[in-house]
């Protein structure tokens, strides 16, 4: 292997080498400041075309005309150095460039020196995230940059995180930023059509990322026009660096397990609580099992002589093993940079049968063909495969009957997963009719239903998977037309095929048709092809007028086509339980699933001017004109622009003469303003009124009005203002960035509700109707606290506040209800932050009666008694005992709290002592509530098992408690039927996201074993959470990134805790 690599490199180094004619020979050695040889330093002789590069020992030999007496040495990262030839053996040491000043930052369609930037751009280095035990790089960004909120909604593998840059910039559209990898916009989000989440970004190997630039304000993002409102994330993958081939191997293995999972009743307590509920109900049994009023229905059971006390979570959770291997080979000479990598990642989740697997290969090449032409190309192939149980944790699934997250806790503990003979315990296992009509777990000795489905059977026999095969490639060429004038053209593609497979067994669970036994078993597969093709051409011109006016101009064109072509099929009537693939024998073909053909097209022209005067005054302006196919006819084209001013006040004479210069190393003021757009809320054909088709019975094709289009539909607008100051002091050891942002959002698209009686399909018409704002302050502090030979310690802190308010919805519409699959949990109301919690007010438990105290919209307290046999009399006024109208969420609900955090950020610390390093980072979020809907279910008084909290229930007059008297089948008192504010909790948290302890092998030892460096580390992911939130995880969001229903924790799994150990080796 190594030999192959070496010879490949030799071949590359030979490219473009020139023959020389001799007059005199000069040789020498080039080293760094510490005396280490530098490999690949370019040595040229001015006035001639002679040049060479240093070899592996840092030495070079160059034959020169006798007249030449000066050499120029150039090496990336080091200062350019001219030396005079004295003698024929030179020894030169090169000095490192001051990194912070020379650092070049990727901005839209180009690069800019970091010190010249006056826009708000956050940078995250790839090395910061490459070892994190995540599936996609975006999961590792929490807390890493001010104003960039990245939260993980659940612990299902490769589920996409929620990214909100400077708040939610859209109400119904996506709030995810535009993500651009090496200049080509990429797919992001869950592309799976089934219950196995599969984030397209999981196909990118985090170790390939050089850095991520996050464009936050309009000055930075306006160059992306109609796609910029949510911010832009520019990802640059690694390129080879000057020098001999560098081979790196990163490996880690780890173990993931759940934490903070619910403690539910054991069998004895369960039986006692449920039977107590039956006694309290004290009525004829509604289940008609012939038992007298109040008689117990729950009894202990034994299997093979052992008492049944099943801890269901043990059957559904696990400690999952994971491993990750990345191998890279990279290098460069003065003509060619190359980078190859391969990655294998395999993870088992904390949920049993949840896995993620990635196989990936990348090749990045850049070649300087002539002195005016540079060619480049990137190629990445990746396959990301997930398997998942029905976790109940993905948007739209929390109430799934077979959702693991709920079944692990609500299933009765006094029933067993298996029967005495080892078969699965399900109702009527020997009688297909009985089995189908119940489709429930067996009851053992209980006389009523004791669970939904048997989760162990479903775990074993159902198979749900999703696989993404993705190719991303781009080729580009850059022509130098004149000094400083470049033309660049790039053609890129991102093609992915997603295959989703679902098999539901014919014995039990989702594959049961309940009533038509011949139809049991269900398989449905879907294939989707998703293509982005992107073509860009830009001209840039860098020039100076006089010595003080520096210009950088950009003009460009981009066009992008995005197409989806997806189809799926479904079969049922499994002929034999041996089969568990679609291609097995099924006897019935069902209606197709997930069919979709859609496309959009974006055509753009853009330009930018950057100007600075003497590095003191900075001006930049962007403009972009976008034509987008999804906008309505006549509204296709929009113009977006942004600009910024910067003032490096520390460059002024008066500053430098004053004491301020002694305090501050530099001090810069910046301001930017612009109008950008968002098109994520606009469906590809949303402006058109259309008729859909299906069938009526046998052979009668149908056609029906299926979309009320809006002929005025266009982009959403975000008007962004950004003010900031950057300064550093203590010899650049303390860097501070302080900023204020204000985004006024207008023309926000909402699905304006129409009364259902109007009969409009979906009861909504999309329109640019709403307005809102996001405002806040951002602070980022970086400090190099200790910089000594053996000890280094740096910390970073960031915080951002966000203040969101919806200022208008639509004419006649002042609120929109947010629904968590089946229940209304949130409301977006004018004058409040979007997606606020809308719940029924409660006031504890009445000590006299043990009844839940509800509060109606008039502020009157109403008691609820489920055990009252007269339905109409269940609700009574607390003050006079008279019958009250039933509490109704739509009438009695109120805004009980905000779901979006008021502040969030991160803190990180990196400490090293000699060969040891220790680092940690914290992600925190403050000022929001979380609706703990799972608690409503976990205190539900149907057969559902309860958390041990129920043991504090009210039992006799005078008991002061927060748990009402238990009444069997009562699903109202604790918020199952309608959400109540007793289940709303403070969501503040600080999570230690990672703690890492590392040890780098001393150089002498490393060299002995032929490594140039080797580092071992042990890392904990999510080791500690500081929070008062009583649920599993305050970061949870069962509705994903939905703007209308944030912050809901309902029957979904929190994140895992992962411990991994790893090794990074460089050969």
């Amino acid at each position: 292997m190594r030999k192959l690599i070496t010879s490949t490199i030799c071949l590359l180094l030979l490219f473009g080498q020139l023959l020389a004619q001799t007059s005199k020979t000069v040789s020498g050695k080039v080293m760094d400041e510490k005396g280490n040889p530098l490999v690949g330093v370019t040595i040229s002789a001015s006035g001639t075309s002679k040049k060479t590069v240093t070899d592996f020992k840092g030495t070079f030999t160059l034959t020169l005309p006798l007249s030449v007496n000066k050499l120029r040495l150039e090496y990336v990262g080091y200062e350019r150095t001219d030396v005079t030839i004295k003698g024929d053996a030179l020894v030169v040491s090169l000095k490192r460039e001051d990194e912070s000043l020379g650092e070049v930052v990727v901005v839209g369609y180009g690069t800019q020196k970091k010190k010249d930037i006056t826009a708000s751009i956050a940078t995250i280095k790839g090395d910061n995230i490459k070892n994190a035990p995540v599936q996609s790089f975006d999961q590792a960004l929490s807390g890493k940059a001010a104003g960039v909120n990245v939260s993980l909604p659940n612990g299902v593998l490769n589920n996409p995180p929620i990214i909100r840059i400077r708040g939610a910039n859209s109400i119904t559209g996506s709030t995810q930023p535009l993500i651009v990898i090496d200049g080509v916009p990429t797919f992001q989000g869950d592309f799976s059509t089934n219950l196995s989440a599969n984030n397209a970004l999981g196909t990118l190997n985090p170790a390939d990322i050089e850095d991520i630039q996050i464009l936050k304000d309009a000055a930075a993002s306006a160059i992306y026009g109609s796609r910029a409102a949510n911010g832009v994330m520019l990802i640059t993958t690694k390129k080879g660096k000057q020098g001999k081939a560098k081979v790196t191997y990163d490996v880690n293995v780890g173990w993931s397990s759940p934490f903070n999972i619910f403690e539910v009743l054991n069998a004895a307590d369960y039986i006692s609580i449920k039977n107590e509920g039956l006694r309290n109900l004290n009525q004829a049994n509604v289940n008609s099992s012939g038992q007298p009023a109040g008689a117990p229905l729950f009894f202990p059971a034994t299997i093979n002589g052992q008492p049944v006390d099943t801890k269901w979570s043990d059957y559904l959770y696990q400690t999952g093993f994971q491993q990750n291997h990345s191998l890279t080979v990279s290098g460069a000479n003065e003509y060619t940079k190359y980078y190859f990598s391969a990655n294998y990642n395999n993870q088992e989740g904390m949920l049993q049968t949840n896995t993620f697997d990635r196989k990936q290969m990348r090749m990045n090449v850049e070649h300087k063909a002539t002195n005016f032409l540079k060619l480049g190309g990137n190629f990445n192939y990746s396959r990301g495969t997930t398997f998942s149980p029905n976790s109940g944790s993905l948007p739209g699934t929390p109430f799934a009957t077979a959702g693991t997250a709920r079944l692990a806790f609500v299933t009765a503990p006094n029933v067993s997963p298996y029967l005495a003979d080892g078969r699965y315990n399900i109702m009527g296992i020997d009688d297909a009719v009985m089995r189908n009509s119940f489709n429930q777990i067996g009851r053992n000795n209980n006389l009523t239903n004791s669970g939904f489905v048997n989760p162990v059977l479903v775990r074993d026999l159902n198979v749900i998977s999703s696989q993404i095969d993705q190719i991303t490639a781009n080729v580009n060429a850059e022509f130098k037309l004149l000094k400083g004038l470049y033309f660049r053209s790039q053609y890129g593609v991102n093609y992915q095929t997603v295959e989703d497979k679902t098999f539901y067994n014919a014995l039990h669970g989702d594959g049961i048709q309940t009533t038509a036994t011949t139809d049991d078993g269900l398989a449905f597969n879907t294939i989707g092809k998703y293509n982005i093709t992107n073509f860009q051409n830009t001209i840039t011109y860098d020039f100076k007028l006089g010595s003080n006016h520096t210009f950088n101009l950009l003009a460009g064109h981009e066009e992008q086509h995005v197409k989806t072509d997806r189809w799926g099929a479904s079969r049922s009537g499994l002929s034999d339980n041996f089969f568990n693939e679609f291609q097995g024998n099924f006897t019935i073909n069902n209606a197709p699933v997930n069919n979709s053909i859609t496309e959009n097209y974006l055509l753009s022209f853009f330009g930018r001017v950057n100007y600075n005067y003497n590095n003191k005054y900075f001006v930049s302006a962007n403009v972009r004109r976008d034509g987008y196919s999804a906008f309505a006819d006549g509204k296709k084209w929009g113009t977006f622009a942004g600009g910024s001013l910067g003032y490096s006040i520390s460059e002024e004479n008066f500053w430098q003469k004053s004491f301020l210069a002694k305090v501050f190393d530099n001090f810069k003021l910046r301001a930017s303003y612009g109008q950008v757009g968002s098109l994520t809320s606009v469906g590809n054909f949303a402006s058109l009124s259309t008729f859909g088709s299906f069938q009526y019975g046998l052979g009668n094709p149908t056609l029906f009005f299926n979309q009320a289009g809006n002929k005025d539909l266009k982009w959403e607008t975000s008007e962004k203002l950004d003010l900031g100051v950057n300064f550093s002091f203590l010899k650049n050891r303390l860097n501070v960035e302080l900023g204020y942002y204000n985004a006024n959002l207008s023309d926000l698209i909402i699905d304006v509700p129409t009364p259902p009686s109007l009969g409009i399909p979906g009861n909504t018409i999309a329109a640019n109707a709403a307005t809102a704002y996001n405002r806040g302050i951002e602070l980022q502090i970086g400090a190099e606290i200790i910089q000594k030979k053996d000890i280094n310690w740096s910390i970073n802190f960031n915080i951002a506040t966000q203040n969101n308010e919806v200022t208008r919805l639509a004419p006649g519409v002042t609120e929109i209800i947010g629904t968590t699959q089946l229940e209304r949990t949130n409301i977006t109301r004018v004058g409040h932050p979007q997606g606020s919690f809308f719940l029924i007010k409660t006031n504890g438990v009445d000590p006299a009666t043990g009844r839940r105290v509800f509060v109606n919209n008039a502020g009157r307290e109403i008691l609820f008694d489920f055990s009252n046999p007269v339905a109409a009399n269940r609700w009574t006024f607390r003050d006079n005992g008279q019958v009250a109208p039933a509490i109704d969420l739509s009438r009695d609900g109120y805004i009980a709290g905000n779901a979006l955090p008021k502040a969030f950020g991160g803190f990180s610390s990196n400490f090293s002592y000699k060969d040891f390093d220790f680092s940690f980072d914290i992600y925190y979020s403050l000022g929001n509530s979380v609706y703990f809907g799972s608690r409503a279910g976990l205190l539900d008084q149907r057969f559902w098992n309860n958390t041990t909290e129920v043991l504090n229930r009210w039992q006799k007059a005078g008991d002061i408690t927060n748990i009402p008297r238990v009444v069997f089948n009562d699903n109202i008192s604790n918020g199952s039927a309608n959400p109540i504010d007793a289940n709303l909790f403070n969501g503040n948290f600080a999570k230690i996201r990672t703690i890492t302890f590392g040890y780098t092998l001393p150089k002498v030892i490393a060299e002995k074993v032929k490594f140039s460096s080797a580092r071992f580390y042990i890392q904990a992911f999510n080791p500690f959470v500081l929070t008062n939130y009583p649920g599993a995880d305050p970061e949870i969001s069962v509705n994903g990134g939905s703007g209308l229903t944030p912050g809901v924790d309902r029957n979904s799994v929190g994140q895992a805790r992962t411990i991994n150990v790893g090794l990074n080796v460089i050969f």
Binding site: F15, G16, L281, A284, V286, S288, S289, T370, F372, L373, N436, F479, F487, T514, T515, A516, F535, E559, N589, N590, A591, I597, Y601, L603, S629, D633, K636, T690, F691, G692, S693, Y696, G697, L698, T702, F704, F705, A708, P753, T754, P755, P756, L758, G759, I760, N763, G812, E815, I817, L822, P869, A871, A872, D888, L889, S890, R891, N971, I972, A977
Partner: protein
């Protein structure tokens, strides 16, 4: 190496032109011309839907829209499933088994509220069916050249039949009180008669129950005049599409709900012979099937006046089908109709009870992917006519009794019912309806048209006609977004 050299050579050659601008500008021009010729890409045409501009452009498309109206009536949230379930389980003959809040638990125990999905979904789907009918009616008018006048009226009649049927179920469910409580003076539902393709006309007040009934009859009279007597070709069409006798049969039910007994008799006599064996003499030759179960297994027989078809590819959808409710979510109430002593074991309808002990299931419907859902059967017309005759005569009318026995004896040939008085006759007819239509969504309608309480069942006490739980709440979203709509109070 070779590659590199030839590239260098190539570019050196080009350099000899001494004008790099030519290269660059030709590339720029080329790329911009690619861009400009792609401008048509800004107006892509969706490939899987049909534009509103051409939805009425051919007779075929208009016919497909007729089926589009039916297909929404048969939506699983409406008459394809749940509506029948709701009307059954509100009555006393069923008990809830699973305690599942999304499968009619709240409907069964009268605890549904205005925000309930069941309340919202049934309403929304029904109104969507009405709007499909209205869009079709408007489209036929606006594209008069596409169809001949006769066919245009036939399609209009089918649309109006569907609209009448939908309004009938809506007003009974959501109207504040049944027509017979106060001659329709209470608030009914918003009466939508215009096509909605945008947000205009959103606000519309609820008409009175009487106004809604009047509109229903208007539609049904038009339908009776313009529907075909029969459909040529497959017998399936005579079941799944409305024909003249369908409109007449539905009118007998509507008049029952208005206590207009003479009109019931007039309509009934159009399709029921004066003496046994009872059958329709014009249009589709309706008559009872010899065996009760035939109607529920063969589907498109002459007994099925109007049914909604189900196939594997066109099913009611998850948690919507009747068989699911009758065999899983609910069970027969041990103290309900099955406790009726006069309903003999020999009765073919009784043999459909599954299990000898509770929970008792009912297998009239056993396959949601294939069982057609009957909306109106010939036996209902016979019993409607029998009841109307009984209520307008004194004593035991022989034709009424004969109609009743036709229904009973089809399933239990060993019994001849012989009520002694007029009241006994009426009671016997009402009881026969509970048996005959068990699981077919008739029970709540029968209770409400009589304006009597929903009887006690299980742990639940009777629900009196004046109380709010007697009818459904108007959905919260209607109240919120229709500024003229008011809740039931």
């Amino acid at each position: 190496m070779l590659f590199s050299k030839s590239i260098n050579k190539f570019f050196t050659m080009i350099m000899n032109i001494k004008n790099k601008f030519i290269i660059a500008s030709s590339i720029t021009i080329a790329s911009l011309s690619i861009a400009s010729c792609n401008k048509e890409n800004l107006n892509p045409i969706p490939q899987t839907v049909i534009s509103d501009a051409s939805a009425f452009s051919t007779p075929d498309r208009i016919l497909q829209q007729v089926f589009g109206v039916y297909s929404q009536v048969k939506n699983g949230n409406f008459l394809g499933g749940r509506t029948h379930v709701y009307n059954d389980v509100r009555g006393e003959d069923w008990v809830n088994v699973t305690g599942n809040g999304v499968t009619a638990l709240g409907v069964w125990n009268y605890s549904i509220v205005s925000t309930d999905n069941q309340v919202e979904n049934q309403w929304a789907v029904a109104y969507s069916a009405i709007n499909r009918a209205n869009v079709l009616l408007q489209g036929i008018d606006a594209n008069s050249s596409i169809l001949n006048a006769n066919l245009a009226n036939r399609y209009r009649a089918e649309a109006r039949f569907c609209r009448a049927l939908t309004n009938f179920y809506l007003v009974n469910c959501y109207g504040r009180r049944p027509f017979n409580a106060d001659a329709g003076a209470s608030l009914g539902i918003p009466l939508r008669v215009n096509a909605s393709t945008g947000s205009s006309g959103a606000a519309l007040a609820r008409s009175t129950v009487a106004q809604v009934y009047s509109a229903i009859l208007d539609d049904l009279n038009f339908a009776e005049t313009n529907l075909p007597l029969t459909y040529a070709g497959s017998s399936d069409s005579n079941t799944v599409r409305a024909h003249r006798n369908s409109a007449i049969a539905l009118k007998t039910r509507v008049y029952m709900h208005m206590n207009r007994w003479n009109d019931v008799i007039t309509e009934g006599n159009k399709i029921v012979s004066t003496s046994a064996p009872f059958q329709a003499s014009s249009g589709v030759a309706h008559r009872l099937n010899a065996a009760f179960l035939t109607t529920f297994r063969t589907y498109n027989t002459t007994e099925s006046i109007f049914s909604l078809p189900m196939t594997n590819l066109n099913s009611p959808g998850g948690q919507n089908g009747l068989a699911l409710y009758h065999n899983a979510e609910f069970a027969l109430n041990p103290t309900g109709i099955i406790a009726e002593a006069g309903w003999r074991t020999a009765d073919a309808r009784r043999s459909l009870i599954v299990n000898a002990v509770a929970p008792f299931r009912y297998s009239k419907f056993n396959d949601d992917l294939n069982n057609y859902v009957p909306i109106i059967r010939y036996s209902e017309v016979l019993l409607n006519l029998a009841e109307a005759i009984a209520r307008t005569t004194s004593g035991v009318d022989s034709r009424a009794l004969s109609l009743l026995n036709a229904v009973r004896q089809r399933s239990d040939a060993g019994v001849t019912l012989a009520p002694a008085t007029n009241a006994d006759l009426i009671n016997a007819i009402l009881l026969e309806r509970r048996i005959e239509f068990l699981g077919e969504g008739i029970r709540a309608l029968d209770i409400q048209r009589q304006n009597i309480a929903f009887p006690a069942k299980g742990s639940l006490q009777p629900v009196l006609p004046t109380t709010l739980p007697y009818v459904w709440p108007i959905p919260a979203s209607e109240i919120l977004y229709n500024s003229l709509a008011v809740p039931n109070s």
